[in-house]
């Protein structure tokens, strides 16, 4: 498990990351969602320990291997796929022979592109090679920043299948940052919403529809209580997010006092979160 505790990062007085706390568990896929400038890539850089952030990142196992595809698949254009992967392995001090490279290229669906120069690959193939590079050394933390960037619908589907079928395992934590909500929702276990450098909401990806409403009173002694996610705005008004099923169960109880309930898709929830100042609160009022 990787734990971030009060992680902050500022440039010239401007907060890029603002007091981030989160736990990333093994075997789970996290979808990092937020607009441009929300701090997603910077958060990846903090996990990679390449920026001078404040706070702490506990990686548990000291030998945690991190695979990354940050912003774009970067390679040397005049080297072949094999040469690029071997060069990466040499720098990363990883064992790398022909069979390992061949296996990786098989996994990402590029077995026939071994001796093609990187500059000769299509955008989709470049992304796949980027994933192959990220997978070298069998990483237990995989950071994928916009892995479907520039891909056509077929390419996106292939990338999704790759993540679902080949990259997910019990030990590996995968964090995917993307603007493509639908694509992310198909592979993600947990959404992490970010806005202006803050983590504003962490919610499991269980439902297609979210019920968002204003809440005045929450019933005690209900097992559904643990499924309620509470948010507040800057005026300390309290809001809830519930699945449709749990909301229907809960609304029959007398001591659940609420108003202004809306049914929201993931996209609508995202827009609502990004256009307001709502932020998750950990404890019940």
């Amino acid at each position: 498990m990787i734990t971030l505790k009060n992680v902050s990062f500022e440039v010239e007085g401007h907060n890029i990351l603002n007091d981030i706390n989160m736990e990333l568990k093994g075997g789970k896929v996290y979808g990092l969602l937020g607009p441009n400038g929300a701090g997603k890539t910077t958060l990846f850089k903090a996990l990679l320990d390449i920026i001078e952030y404040k706070g702490e990142v506990f990686k548990g196992d000291a030998n945690v291997i991190i695979g990354k595809l940050i912003e774009y698949p970067s390679f040397y254009p005049n080297l072949t796929c094999v040469e690029n992967l071997k060069l990466h392995a040499s720098y990363a001090d990883m064992e790398c022979n022909d069979s390992i490279v061949n296996h990786l290229l098989e996994v990402v669906g590029l077995p026939d592109a071994k001796h093609k120069k990187f500059k000769e690959l299509s955008m989709g193939m470049k992304q796949r090679l980027g994933v192959a590079k990220a997978l070298m050394g069998n990483p237990n933390l995989l950071l994928l920043d916009e892995p479907t960037n520039g891909l056509d619908p077929m390419g996106m589907k292939d990338m999704r299948n790759l993540i679902e079928q080949d990259l997910k395992d019990n030990q590996r934590t995968i964090v995917i940052s993307s603007h493509n909500l639908n694509e992310v929702s198909l592979v993600t276990d947990t959404f992490l919403f970010m806005r202006n450098g803050k983590k504003i909401l962490e919610i499991d990806n269980k439902e297609d529809i979210y019920m968002l409403g204003s809440v005045q009173q929450i019933p005690e002694n209900t097992i559904i209580k643990q499924d309620i996610t509470l948010l507040k705005d800057s005026k300390d008004n309290l809001y809830f997010i519930l699945s449709e099923i749990n909301f229907n169960k809960l609304k029959t109880t007398n001591d659940f006092v609420y108003s202004d309930v809306e049914k929201l898709t993931l996209e609508n929830l995202y827009i609502r979160l990004m256009s307001t100042d709502l932020i998750e609160v950990k404890s019940y009022v």
Partner: protein
């Protein structure tokens, strides 16, 4: 370290810039061979073939050295590989030295190639071994001082600008400035120009500075000081964590 230098070589040899640099470096030699065949068969060191070559090569040397070291860094920026390259679990000072060394090694190879051609040419045409030994000493002094200085200075410039055009333009500027000031009595304040004059001292001491030992002390002292400062700046830049 050997592995890192080998990796840099794999990257560099995939780029056409090596070929361009080799061709550029050969221009003074080719021009003087043409001149030797067509016009002037003067083989004297202080005013003939070597002297003309030496002057033209001195103009070219800062340019090709600056292009080479700038490109070793620029290929990381251009290919968006800098983040990857800098975040491997390798001390950044080692990464820096691998670039400084591959650039120096390539320049060394180019210099040796030219020195061998020059020496063989002088041996065949002139046959004066003493001339050849003085030529070799002069050539080595020029190359060591200019290549070391330019490599370290331009490693700083390219890391700061991340712009190959800016870096090459400054390289051309340095070359022109060194050419303009190389004959000045105070040129020992400029390491490249000092390297030129010190290299010529072996050929004819009339080309060196007048006076006591102070130009030599200042020239060598500044060469060491500037390179030490550049090395420290390089290490600070490469170790700067913020990306």
């Amino acid at each position: 370290m050997f592995k890192l230098i080998k990796n840099e070589w794999i990257k560099m040899k995939s780029e056409k810039v090596i070929l361009v640099i080799v061709i550029l470096s050969l221009i003074p030699l080719l021009m003087n061979f043409a001149n030797f065949v067509v016009n002037n068969r003067d083989m004297s060191l202080d005013s003939g073939f070597y002297f003309t070559y030496y002057n033209q090569y001195f103009m070219m040397l800062p340019i090709i050295s600056s292009v080479l070291i700038s490109f070793t860094f620029y290929m990381e920026f251009k290919n968006k590989m800098y983040l990857d390259w800098i975040t491997y679990n390798i001390p950044r000072s080692k990464l820096l030295f691998s670039k400084l060394l591959i650039s120096t090694i390539i320049m060394l190879a180019i210099c040796i190639m030219q020195l061998v051609i020059l020496s063989v040419f002088y041996f065949v045409v002139d046959g004066n071994i003493e001339y050849i030994l003085r030529l070799i000493s002069s050539y080595i002094i020029l190359n060591v001082i200019v290549i070391t200085t330019i490599t370290l200075v331009f490693a700083v410039i390219i890391q700061l600008t991340k712009n190959i055009v800016a870096s090459i333009s400054i390289g051309i500027g340095v070359s022109l400035l060194s050419m303009i000031l190389m004959a000045a009595p105070f040129s020992y304040f400029i390491p490249t120009a000092y390297g030129y004059r010190l290299g010529l001292l072996i050929i004819d001491n009339g080309y060196y500075y007048e006076g006591d030992m102070s130009p030599t002390i200042i020239g060598i002292g500044l060469f060491v000081l500037i390179n030490a400062i550049m090395l420290i700046i390089n290490l600070r830049l490469i170790n700067k964590k913020r990306l």
